[in-house]
């Protein structure tokens, strides 16, 4: 019994983190048709900036986290402006932007290493202590992640569905020309999409930094998972991405528990391939 609860809870934590990461990636994908590889290192960037503000400036976690998230969003905006924007309208946009965002991934990752060194850092947890969930003991921080992530996604979903800014962010992905013609500033909207998306990366980094060490490469594995999540769920919709994130998180927790850490990633990818063979548009994809 206890092992079932532990597995479920750990699956929920993973699912919540993947959902945050993947929703950001998926936002950029739906608006621009671009995969942003700098999403991973920007998780680490958000975390190290938060760490520095706490350690060097003596801020408490919450304001420091806000600064860390804004810093990640700022770098995201810079990536859009200087590494992606010049390729809009090019029919090889996907390939070109893959190359440039991969470049930015390496630069940010190495930059963090040079500036912050490789000393292991850990961020303080939002709340300390532990909680007991039906016999499974987890840190209160992890419990909070399970609650915060769906709330943020719900907020994001409402924002995209019912504000003019959110609508315009969906509109530019569906029909760029028409977006221009109803008065939307399309480049500015793309910039905003990048900033919000990478802000979410920063937030994921801050949350993850309370459980795992803050390293330049801390985002690499979650990035890979987030990519799996959006392909698995079916590219494009926030709901599909969130659903897929929790399914994948749960699967991973079960596999780690019963098969072991070593083979889990391989099995997950094999499962992804099987799903794609039978549903090439992903689990919840429409066409």
């Amino acid at each position: 019994m206890e092992i079932v609860v532990i597995t479920i809870v750990s699956g929920l934590v993973l699912g919540a983190l993947y959902a945050l990461m993947a929703s950001g990636l998926s936002l950029i994908w739906t608006a621009l048709g671009v995969f942003n590889y700098s999403h991973g290192p920007l998780m680490a960037f958000g975390a190290v900036v938060t760490w520095t503000v706490i350690e060097k400036l003596g801020f408490s976690l919450l304001p420091a986290a806000v600064i860390g998230i804004v810093a990640a969003a700022l770098i995201g905006a810079i990536v859009e402006r200087f590494l992606v924007r010049s390729f809009y309208g090019n029919r090889d946009l996907l390939l070109l932007s893959c190359m440039t965002t991969l470049t930015s991934m390496i630069i940010i990752e190495k930059g963090i290493q040079i500036i912050w060194g490789s000393r292991l850092k850990l961020l303080p947890r939002i709340i300390g202590g532990e909680i007991n969930v039906f016999g499974a003991v987890i840190s209160a921080h992890e419990g909070l992640i399970i609650i915060i992530s769906p709330l943020i996604l719900l907020f994001l979903w409402r924002f995209m569905a019912s504000t003019q800014t959110g609508r315009s962010m969906r509109a530019v992905g569906q029909n760029q020309e028409m977006a221009h013609l109803i008065g939307i500033n399309v480049p500015k909207t793309y910039l905003l999409v990048f900033a919000i998306s990478t802000g979410l990366a920063g937030l994921s980094g801050v949350l993850l930094g309370g459980i795992r060490f803050v390293l330049p490469t801390m985002g690499a594995e979650p990035l890979l998972k987030a990519m799996t999540v959006i392909i698995f769920g079916g590219l494009g919709s926030l709901g599909a991405t969130t659903g897929a994130a929790f399914i994948l998180g749960m699967l991973e927790a079960i596999l780690v528990q019963f098969v072991g850490m070593y083979w889990t990633p391989s099995i997950l990818f094999l499962l992804l391939i099987v799903v794609l063979i039978f549903r090439p548009t992903g689990l919840f994809g429409s066409k």
Binding site: Q164, R167, N175, H180, L181, I182, G183
Partner: protein, 239 residues
């Protein structure tokens, strides 16, 4: 005396291809004009150049005496020059009501939103019935109506319509034509690209015939001779 919209010697195209070879047209205050001519001779390109989607290589577009050469498309919409593009190019995964709501995007359009919603739903009662429906599930005619309605939600001072009746059944076409006449009646000057010269003649004050990227004839509708000339061009000479 300056025109409301003044297009002077526009040379434009896509990539290495030149499509417009020095086109000049104008729209006076309180008049409507029509463009017609064979397909692929530059009418749509001209609208794209006016609304800033492509930048002309030479020539100028003046709107209310402002040179639009280096003005971004969204700012041109803000100034009140609105272009409803050809075909059913909409936000396919959005609902009808949502698209109209989004189209009231500029500050000016927001201020007039309630009034424009009323206007749009009066002109196109079908859209009022389909507020919740996704754009991709609409019929061709309904999408065309939605496209015009979205342009109206932008609160245009001048409205450019690109082949609004293209591919519609006779019944739907009549409905759309009536709605366009209704828009004109509310005092919005129109610039219409249309193949149906009969419809154009009933609606606009002047016509331009565009061929090979040039204005080959300008016709004043009130001029009987010109009227005859248009008929001859389109239906052959009757001796």
């Amino acid at each position: 005396m300056s025109y409301l919209l003044d297009v002077k010697d526009i040379v434009a195209g896509y990539g290495a291809v030149t499509i417009l070879r020095g086109v000049s047209i104008h729209l006076d205050k309180k008049e409507s004009i029509g463009l017609f001519g064979p397909n692929g001779h530059g009418k749509t390109t001209l609208l794209h150049a006016i609304s800033g989607l492509i930048k002309p290589r030479q020539g100028h577009v003046y709107f209310n005496e402002v040179d639009l050469s280096s003005v971004k498309p969204y700012k041109i919409v803000k100034m009140g020059l609105v272009h409803s593009p050809q075909g059913n190019t909409l936000f396919s995964a959005m609902g009808v009501g949502e698209i109209l709501e989004l189209s009231a995007f500029t500050k000016r359009a927001k201020e007039n939103k309630t009034r424009n919603f009323e206007k749009v739903y009066t002109l196109f009662p079908r859209l009022a019935e389909r507020k919740k429906q996704l754009a991709k599930t609409l019929s061709g005619g309904e999408r065309q109506m939605l496209s015009i309605a979205a342009a109206l939600m932008c609160s245009p001072e001048v409205l450019m319509l690109d082949e609004p009746t293209l591919g519609l059944s006779p019944l739907l076409k009549e409905e759309v034509c009536n709605a366009i006449a209704g828009i004109k009646a509310t005092g919005i000057p129109l610039l219409i690209v249309e193949q149906d010269v009969g419809f154009l003649l009933s609606l606009v004050d002047r016509l331009y015939l565009i061929e090979q990227g040039e204005v080959v004839r300008e016709m004043d509708k009130s001029n009987k001779l010109a009227h005859r000339e248009i008929m001859d061009i389109y239906f052959g000479k009757v001796e």
